[in-house]
Symmetry: none
DNA sequence: GATGAATGAGACTTCATTCAT
DNA sequence: TATGAATGAAGTCTCATTCAT
């Protein structure tokens, strides 16, 4: 097995274990068992337990950004881009449930390295939204009196909270696709009927 | 000092310490020092470390619910109620920054008792939103083709994500009041200009 | 309530609690609750936890010695005295089950103060047996080629082991009286010279 | 060093420390130091402090039973078997003084697991005596009007009490061999029918 | 590189004892 | 004298990390 493979294998195991138990309740030996390596082997690939989490954030979120940018690239209409973002986000949550779980849990922690992390790589992901908003405001399909910095967080927060529900109880009645649809719809048009504007 | 006072004092210290370091990085001795009691004293008022967190949730969220319901009670228009909720939530975050920090961090954890907790007491808080939505749909000021269960989460998620930003960096440029305003505005009317509907 | 009464009450409670849980598993607060006094009150009557145990040994064994000497006093025949001792010992075990339990458990401990104790006050109790043996050897009703120091321990050990069984399971089939009888019988017809058979 | 060796080493250290201080006064760190391992290492071999004691009982008493049965096996005369048992018991006490000390102390404790233990494995050891008595009663060398269940305890109790003396003060004047001799003598000439004298 | 037994710092928690009331 | 809340020393046990094989 190549070095990169074992690195991947350990990271995959970490996603599984962190997702299930949370970072602090996860044991290095849990990850080692899941990855089918010895405890000590993990330290040949990572500096320490925190490093596994950080690496996991870095590498996996990087992939997400690449993927979602690719999905949006072909589209020109910011309204549709927003819809694509929402659907893509939900799809990611479903396909990478365990990773989503880890991100939801650990990105909220306030330990110094994580705080810093939220301000860099993770921000890139959310900034995709504000880029879309900017674009929409320039071509006047979005109102210009709303701040992109607020909208991006509101939009992401809405999707994130919705996906948390699904992660906690994946058997819920609202399909994630329908959720993405409704949330985009709400953000685009509001909940007050158009005629009453 | 009365017994109830020491209970409060320890809980206040716990909010401070948990908020600063997170549950798992907080030491009982940190809380004790903050509360200016001996380590052992904490165990006269709480069964164990987890119990402090649970009690904290139980007692503090209860208060929030009471407060926010009071704030909304006088209002009849669901649109205004939503605005009041948003403003009140932000006000709470500012006034009880440390508590907000703890809630944001720990309610995401996946340990069994917390998961269960999210499904009960905490749900009551969010359900205030869906109640408002229902009301609005009945009197036709809100569109009826949107699911209250989705809206409540989207709305709460938006506020929550916004307040996280403020908690991490309280010196940010967007005032929380302005945020509450914009988020309510987005939810009510959408980001697409009305005339283009 | 007089001072002496509270002293007694605490001691009685200690016998109960030590008997039930053993010295190390007994809590001062258990004894206090049993004695219906505050924890702190105990320290007005005893120096510390160990002191309760020591006092208990001292005072209670003292009583036993007085009682058993009284029971034997009227008798002249060493063979009958031995029988009386056995019966009396068993009676004590039954009547003061909890005290017996404490003595059985704690007199075996090897902590310094207890070791010392076994060599003094408790020895007095057992020495009643060797005194009887001596007497019997002098008037030739007991074989003189057996060492009183061995017999006293063997006899006490036999009774003690038998009573341990009863303490652990008071509902056993052998009555304690019958046991005392048999043990005395065994010892007598062994230590009585063969020619007197 | 093989895994089994370290298990042994820790157990040997535990026997030493428990024998010296008693279970409750023994510290895990004492045992670790004695065994020349780290505190944590002990928990790789045992679940907890109590488990060390239980394992110690289980493994060591098992060995004693095997040994003593072997010693008796060649003999046919129940009277001689009893003598062999007594001598062997005393020899064990001398050779395994520390283990004997632990057994004497801890088997008297009343904690649930130990009580239960006394009723199972330890009972096997004492039952060797009653088996001998039964045998002797069948071939009429022992009186049949004495209950084996009483005799076994009386005999064991006598030996046990005697060995306690030696353990507390190994420099005493009565040699253990002589004690075994006298105790057997006392018991034999009591349980052997008078007419066979 | 890989292993996993060993380490030992450090956490939580208990409870005998004190002392202000 | 009596109380019982408070103390804090000290113990058991966990687990990230190391290192000899």
């Amino acid at each position: 097995m190549k070095k990169a493979d074992k690195h991947k294998k350990i990271l995959a195991a970490a996603i599984h274990v962190f997702g299930e138990k949370g970072f602090y309740n996860a044991r290095i030996s849990d990850i080692a068992k899941e990855a089918k390596v010895a405890d000590g082997t993990i330290y040949l690939y990572f500096n320490n337990k925190h490093d596994i989490l950080l690496t996991l954030f870095e590498e996996e979120i990087g992939k997400l950004i690449v993927q979602i940018k690719g999905a949006i690239a072909e589209e020109k209409d910011p309204r549709k881009m927003l819809k694509i973002f929402a659907h893509n986000h939900m799809k990611l949550v479903i396909e990478k449930k365990e990773l989503a779980e880890v991100l939801q849990m650990e990105l909220r922690q306030s330990s110094a390295p994580i705080k810093q992390y939220r301000n860099t790589s993770f921000a890139d992901y959310i900034n995709i939204i504000s880029d879309i908003i900017h674009m929409g405001q320039e071509i006047k399909v979005f109102r210009s009196n709303l701040m992109p910095g607020v909208i991006k967080r509101a939009f992401f927060g809405a999707l994130d909270e919705m996906s948390r529900l699904w992660i906690l109880a994946p058997d819920n009645t609202y399909s994630m696709t329908e959720c993405a649809e409704q949330i985009t719809n709400i953000f685009l048009h509001g909940i007050v009927p158009a005629e009453s504007h």
